[in-house]
């Protein structure tokens, strides 16, 4: 399924991606695009293949068919650390911060590939501005942070590699409503800095409120793709994902 493509060049293109685990096929030919500076929401029920799509992009799952290109470079079969080096940050589901390392160590590991230590210090300072709660806890072990703080840390850590595209997997999962608001505000601010975002979310309403465009995934295939506004007004999307 092709989406209405305007004149901006494409950044990330998935073309007929088929992928799965062992005998199970989870993605049955996904077509998806992200343009520079966009927030794209990827919505769907549990098991629709949202997380697998992100894992295929970052190289954790190898596509069996189709192609994934990023800025013209083919990503199929590239190791995850090489994908990260190309400028794709991936904040995985469940945050996966290093609980036995300090907050500051977590951040620095996000910039492991970089050798420009001065710019890195500058970026750490920026992260303290974007996530003030982390600054106060920089010497604490990440395992002592609350769930919301760990989500902030995971996002900050993902940004330390200066990605041009950030993949966010369920950033609001398990967070109190007030924190969900904060997380989405931060997503908007990150995007305002020029970083494109591919956002996987259960909370479709919030996701569509910040996104420019969105895709609906159903059992491993894209069934709908439109501007966020149009999706929010679509009767099928309303009844299936927005609670009526």
């Amino acid at each position: 399924m092709l989406c209405a493509v305007c004149c901006t060049p494409l950044m990330l293109v998935l073309d007929g991606v088929v992928a799965g685990y062992g005998p199970t096929v989870c993605l049955k030919g996904i077509d998806l695009e992200v343009r520079p500076g966009e927030i794209v929401a990827l919505l769907g029920a549990n098991g629709a293949g949202k997380t697998t799509t992100l894992m295929a992009i970052s190289g954790l799952v190898r596509p069996r068919q189709g192609s994934i290109t990023f800025g013209g470079a083919r990503l199929n079969g590239i190791a995850p650390e090489a994908v990260a080096a190309l400028g794709i940050g991936h904040v995985p589901e469940g945050r996966r911060v290093f609980t036995r390392l300090t907050v500051l160590e977590n951040l620095r590991l996000g910039a492991y590939l970089r050798r420009d230590s001065r710019a890195m210090h500058e970026d750490v300072r920026q992260m303290w501005e974007l996530f003030p709660v982390l600054r106060a806890r920089q010497r604490q072990l990440a395992g002592t942070l609350s769930g919301g703080e760990q989500q902030m840390l995971a996002m900050a850590r993902g940004l330390m590699g200066r990605p041009t595209l950030l993949l966010l997997d369920e950033p609001s999962l398990g967070l109190a409503p007030k924190l969900v608001r904060t997380v989405f505000d931060i997503i908007t601010r990150i995007n305002a800095g020029g970083t494109a975002i591919l956002l996987v979310e259960q909370n479709a309403r919030m996701a569509l409120s910040v996104a420019h465009r969105g895709y609906i995934l159903e059992t491993g295939a894209v069934t709908l793709c439109d501007s966020a506004k149009a999706l929010a007004g679509n009767p099928h999307v309303k009844s299936a994902y927005l609670g009526g």
């Binding site: 650390e81 911060v97 609980t99 390392l101 590991l109 492991y112 590699g161």
Partner: protein, 306 residues
């Protein structure tokens, strides 16, 4: 000798062999920490380290060297060369034997480790022969009386060497980028990949560091017992593994504490009960400790991923 003098003497001897156990235990625990593999070839890497040290001694003509600066530099050179050589050996073993099995069931890597152990033992036997080889003394035979116990210069050298290595390792692991990446890899390799951390290289470096530490233990072992044999890696390796489990496998300070403790307990057991029961004693301690604290002294719960 009075009872307290006997105790002091046993303590000094125990800390000496314990230092060597600790140096080897670090390699077991570090490798287990990053890839959950009990590297059964590690004891043999320790033994190869002793033989590498021996070869350098012979090559440099250090046999019968007079005490002095030449001897001191000889010691540093021998231990340094053995550490470098075993570091490269560890790198090769990881690359050839373990990395191809990274995605295989854990049992496959474990059996491969036993195969590597046999390979190293037999290779050394073919090269150096099956009989004991004499290890030349590199430390002058000076002895001091401390509180009625005798402490040799060699013991002081072993304590100091082990202490320096452990402090250096602790600084590397806790204060450097590489160390942070090692701790992160031990906790969640997938998250490391996503951040662009070269996990395979971090694992390889863990083998290099662990093997180098074992080599330093091998040279100290050769100096302490004056002989080396191709079988030496077996029992000493198992004891060091015991020490790593005692301290909590995967935990670096635990391996240090476990090594020293095992050395002291074993020596005290041999001294006060019976020398014939020396080896049994080490394992009895392990069984008893694991009954009451299955994670080892400093070990944490294994599954604490968020």
């Amino acid at each position: 000798m009075t009872a307290s003098q006997v105790f002091l003497q046993q303590l000094a001897n125990g800390l000496t062999i314990g230092s060597i156990y600790a140096l080897i235990a670090l390699g077991y625990t570090m490798v287990y920490g990053v890839i959950q593999l009990i590297n059964f070839a590690h004891g043999d890497v320790f033994m190869v380290g002793a033989y590498m040290g021996l070869s350098v001694c012979l090559w440099l003509g250090l046999e019968g060297a007079a005490p002095g600066a030449a001897m001191a530099w000889g010691f540093v050179g021998v231990i340094g060369a053995a550490m470098f050589g075993c570091g490269m050996l560890g790198l090769g073993v990881e690359r050839l034997a373990y990395r191809p099995l990274r995605r295989a069931p854990r049992l496959a890597a474990l059996i491969t480790a036993i195969g590597v152990s046999f390979f190293l033992q037999n290779a050394v036997m073919l090269i150096y022969g099956a009989t004991d080889r004499r290890f030349p003394p590199l430390v002058p035979s000076i002895r001091w009386e401390v509180g009625g116990a005798t402490v040799t210069a060699l013991q002081v050298v072993i304590w100091a060497s082990a202490g320096i290595m452990m402090l250096g390792l602790q600084a590397l692991v806790m204060r450097t980028r590489l160390g942070a990446a090692m701790r992160a890899t031990a906790q969640d390799p997938t998250a490391c990949w996503l951040l662009g951390i070269p996990v395979d290289r971090i694992i390889a470096l863990t083998f290099v560091i662990g093997s180098s530490l074992a080599a330093s233990g091998g040279v100290l072992f050769g100096l302490y017992y004056n002989t080396v044999n191709f079988h030496d890696g077996y029992l000493t390796g198992i004891k060091a593994f015991t020490a790593a489990v005692l301290g909590g496998i995967g935990n670096i300070p635990g391996a240090m504490v476990g090594g020293l403790l095992l050395g002291v307990l074993e020596t005290l057991g041999a001294g006060y009960l019976s020398a014939q029961w020396k080896h049994v004693f080490a394992f009895v301690v392990l069984v008893v400790l694991l009954l009451f604290k299955p994670t080892g002294l400093l070990g944490e719960r294994v599954a604490d991923r968020a």
